[in-house]
């Protein structure tokens, strides 16, 4: 199970990476492993405004449907449309090709309240 050091993590198993003015969001390797084969990702509409912990997307696997919550507040600026055809990218590449969406209008300091890789690894133990 991998947990890259350059990301921040939530208790609901999302990761967030700050890239300048933009936050990139996905689910963790641990989360995809627990969910099993992912069959569908309901992506948010571009322009949607979300609060921290607000519902951002829905992810469906052969076991269950789960909400993906926004780690921080912002406005959806881009979504990973490739997941429409290949939702399994979330399984195969949770931190790269399997990203879910990007947020703008963010306050980058909000991520300070999230877990580091080491904290998250301890959390899921």
């Amino acid at each position: 199970m991998s947990t890259p050091d350059n990301l921040k993590y939530t208790k609901d198993h999302e990761w967030v990476r700050i890239d300048g003015e933009i936050a990139i969001i996905g689910i963790t390797d641990h989360a995809q492993n627990e969910l099993g084969d992912i069959t569908y990702v309901e992506l948010p509409a571009v322009g949607k405004k979300v609060e921290a912990n607000g519902e951002l997307a829905v992810i469906e696997s052969v076991k269950a449907a789960s909400d993906i919550l926004a780690p921080i507040a912002g406005t959806v600026s881009e979504v990973n449309n490739a997941l429409d055809d290949e939702p399994e990218e979330v399984n195969d590449s949770p931190y790269e090709n399997g990203w879910i969406c990007k947020l703008t209008d963010i306050d980058a300091s909000e991520v300070d309240g999230l877990m580091s890789a080491a904290d998250y690894e301890a959390f899921i133990k």
Partner: protein
């Protein structure tokens, strides 16, 4: 896989012979406008009677069913359906009744028996769960939930209460949040505590004047009874929030405690679970809803009333009723079976149902707890939830255990529910299984646990004994084909 019956069709082969038309039938045809006559014969398989019998008998043998197999599908209460109930439901006087008859002039007197069955069933259900009135109309559990939520909404609207939220524990059936959402409420999920019950602190934090209802399953989906239920009810009622009882697990407390006495205001029952009516493969189900007195004015129409002279009639005019929620009077044949079941068992028999259901579940729990993880390790009610986490470390998931059980002649338990348990396996034996049958299931589970340690690879191709083997579940969900 066996052929479709259409693929077995041979031109001009027949399994029937039709009589010649009589003169009056020929006469009749003259009055039907020609545009209504088919020009092409229907596309039906051309097969002999024996072809048909063998085709469907062989298909039925492919089924893992209660008639052939132990069926511990948690939360579904797959108990045996007594044949006596079937015999009575097949009686011509019931089976041939036309549903419109009681609405026709004079028809009411021709349907007194059926109306009395419905009226008596309502009374019996009221007594069993401690409610003041029942509607038998909802066609299934989820339909009962929706009806219940509509009743709660009608109650609050009528009182001028401004209610926006429904509280639901994180262990709930998925239908609870669905019903509340369709009813127009915002769902607030309340986490469970370390004992597997609703976290009382979190509950109190979420509870305020805007809460319309709290939907609970009792015992909950972990098979655990909530010891704080009275406190919870008092706190809910203090802000005029109603307590909704999801009756999926009534089999655990039947004849012992009554939801109405625990403080519940609205109850739905699943007759196809607790009251032994046919279940699975489309049922049809039946989800009667019971209410306390304060909600009676909103009950759906039609309502069966007993007149002063002892006869029964249907009443349609109720000013505050939520209206029709189903055509006619619910799934009558199912209600009739449940009525017969209740009379067959009687008060004492119904109590023994829950006693044996709980003993059977605890027996399985005690026998398997050394080999499978038990996240909430306390005595259970009518079902217990294990986790295949230990096996999953060797690459054998709950899904693999389920498939291995099919090859050993058992229907799998419910897996991956409730969602708060990893690799969940929810086992509900019901009261109708013998100790011998349960022992052979336990033996199979123990063998599977052992095999998971020594030969995990062998699991991934299971089941092997069925004509349809391992399904590609991912493909099944992702690549849906809705037309042929």
């Amino acid at each position: 896989m066996s052929k479709l019956i259409f693929e077995k069709s041979i031109p001009n082969r027949k399994g029937y012979s039709l009589p010649e038309l009589t003169d009056s039938e020929k006469e009749c045809n003259l009055h039907i406008p020609s545009k209504y006559f088919a020009t092409e014969p229907p596309e039906l398989p051309e097969v002999s009677e024996l072809d048909v019998v063998r085709h469907f008998t062989n298909l039925s043998l492919e089924n893992v069913s209660l008639d052939a197999n132990f069926y511990p599908l948690g939360s579904c209460t797959m108990k045996y359906n007594p044949k006596a109930c079937e015999r009575i439901a097949a009686m011509d006087g019931f089976a041939s009744l036309h549903p419109l008859l009681p609405q026709l002039r004079g028809g009411g007197m021709l349907t007194q028996g059926a109306l009395e069955v419905l009226h008596e069933t309502e009374n019996l259900l009221c007594e069993i769960v401690g409610m003041d009135a029942f509607t038998l109309q909802p066609m299934a559990g989820a339909h009962g939930e929706l009806t219940g939520i509509m009743l709660i909404a009608a109650y609050h609207c009528d009182k001028g209460n401004k209610k926006t939220k429904v509280l639901i524990p994180d262990s709930a059936h998925g239908t609870n949040p669905s019903s509340a959402t369709i009813g127009g409420y915002k769902v607030v999920t309340v986490p469970s505590d370390a004992n597997g019950c609703m976290d009382m602190n979190a509950f109190e934090e979420s509870l305020d004047e805007s809460v319309a209802a709290i939907m609970l399953t009792s015992p909950n989906t972990l098979g655990l009874f909530n010891p704080d239920i009275h406190t919870l009810a008092d706190k809910a009622h203090a802000v005029d929030a109603l307590l909704y009882y999801d009756g999926a697990n009534l089999n655990a407390i039947l004849g012992k405690i009554r939801p109405g006495d625990l403080g519940f205001d609205v109850v739905h029952l699943n007759l196809h679970k607790t009251f032994a009516t046919p279940h699975g493969g489309g049922g049809p189900g039946s989800g009667p809803v019971g209410v306390k007195e304060s909600l009676i004015p909103y009950m759906p129409t039609s309502i069966i009333v007993k007149r002063q002279d002892g006869t029964f009639a249907l009443e349609y005019k109720r000013e505050k009723s939520i209206g029709y929620i189903a055509p006619f009077y619910g799934n009558f044949g199912i209600l009739l079976r449940a009525y017969v079941y209740i009379l067959l068992l009687g008060k004492e028999g119904l109590s023994r149902v829950s006693e044996n259901a709980v003993i059977n579940a605890n027996y399985i729990m005690a026998k398997l707890r050394d080999k499978y993880d038990l996240p909430y390790n306390r005595s259970c009610m009518h079902e217990s939830v294990f986790s295949a986490t230990r096996q999953a470390k060797n690459g054998v998931t709950a899904l693999d255990v389920a498939k291995a059980l099919i090859d050993r002649g058992f229907h799998p338990p419910t897996i991956y529910f409730p969602l708060i348990v990893k690799e969940a396996m929810m086992i509900e034996p019901t009261e109708t299984e013998s100790k011998e049958e349960i022992d052979s299931f336990i033996q199979a589970m123990l063998e599977i646990a052992e095999l998971a340690e020594t030969d995990s690879e062998s699991f991934h191709a299971l089941p092997k004994t069925k004509s349809i083997t391992r399904l590609d579940e991912k493909k099944a969900v992702k690549d849906k084909i809705f037309s042929v």
